[in-house]
């Protein structure tokens, strides 16, 4: 097994660790935390994958995630917060 596939496999195991927190986590914020961790892991996996194939255009997807990936978790976090404060 060469270098890049080994790194990708290790990263898949790390993703499974984050997914365990998403599945187990007692509160919803724990699940969100696992979600944001998996999102950053995905970016790094895309970087390693593009480096393995030496294709520059594959990095566009990583740029999309790094620009827009936080919107999902910020939206869900805002939603939870507003639900608990808005009805006072």
């Amino acid at each position: 097994m060469t270098f890049h596939p080994a790194v990708l496999t290790a990263m898949a195991f790390l993703m499974v660790g984050g997914m365990a927190r998403v599945l187990v986590g007692p509160t919803i914020w724990d699940r969100l935390l696992g979600f944001s961790l998996i999102s950053s892991k995905i970016i790094m996996a895309i970087v390693v994958f593009a480096s393995m194939l030496e294709r520059t255009f594959l990095l566009d997807i990583a740029i999309v995630y790094s620009l827009l990936g936080f919107i999902g978790s910020v939206l869900i976090a805002r939603f939870l917060e507003r639900r608990t404060e808005g009805e006072e």
Partner: protein, 194 residues
Amino acid sequence: MIEVILLVALLVLSVMAIESRIMRVSIVYLGTLSLLMSFLYLFYNAPDVAIAEAVMASGLTTLLFLTALKRYRVYRICFTNEAFRRVNDRYIFEGTRRGALLHEIEQFCIARELEPQVVCTPESLDLVAGSGRYDLIIRQEGDELRVYGDKENYFVDELEVLLILRYHDLNVRFIRSGDPVEEASVAEAEGEAS
């Protein structure tokens, strides 16, 4: 190798997203599912689809699901324990007896189409009750669990019967009180009328 791991993860996540009864948790599952799926599209040499999946999943579908979810009513449960000054996550886990109780209350809420949200805090009871954010407050004092709820609410009536029947070993006691603000306003109105 990575392909097999991610495909199995996709299976687990999709089954959990359908089976989970709390809608907001389902949204988080679906977000994770689209993250992993986007990488798999990339792995199968379809970068166009991967970009579309990434954008749609991160912003658009999440906002649509959350807007659809605004119609659900959230039932807020607060677990407070001021005696120990420390409240840990283990209070919420399902393994312990208290965790089983909280889990039972959550299932009870879900059966009546309410979204339960459990929050765990070491603040004092006055502060928690004064904020007026919570529908049900569970407070631990030594070996006793005291549950504070509304006075006139048939939901709390049913919950009281259930908890006293099943969890008598935890010394559950129910204390029913009306909203203090409402009581004051009612008293004022009565005074003006007389």
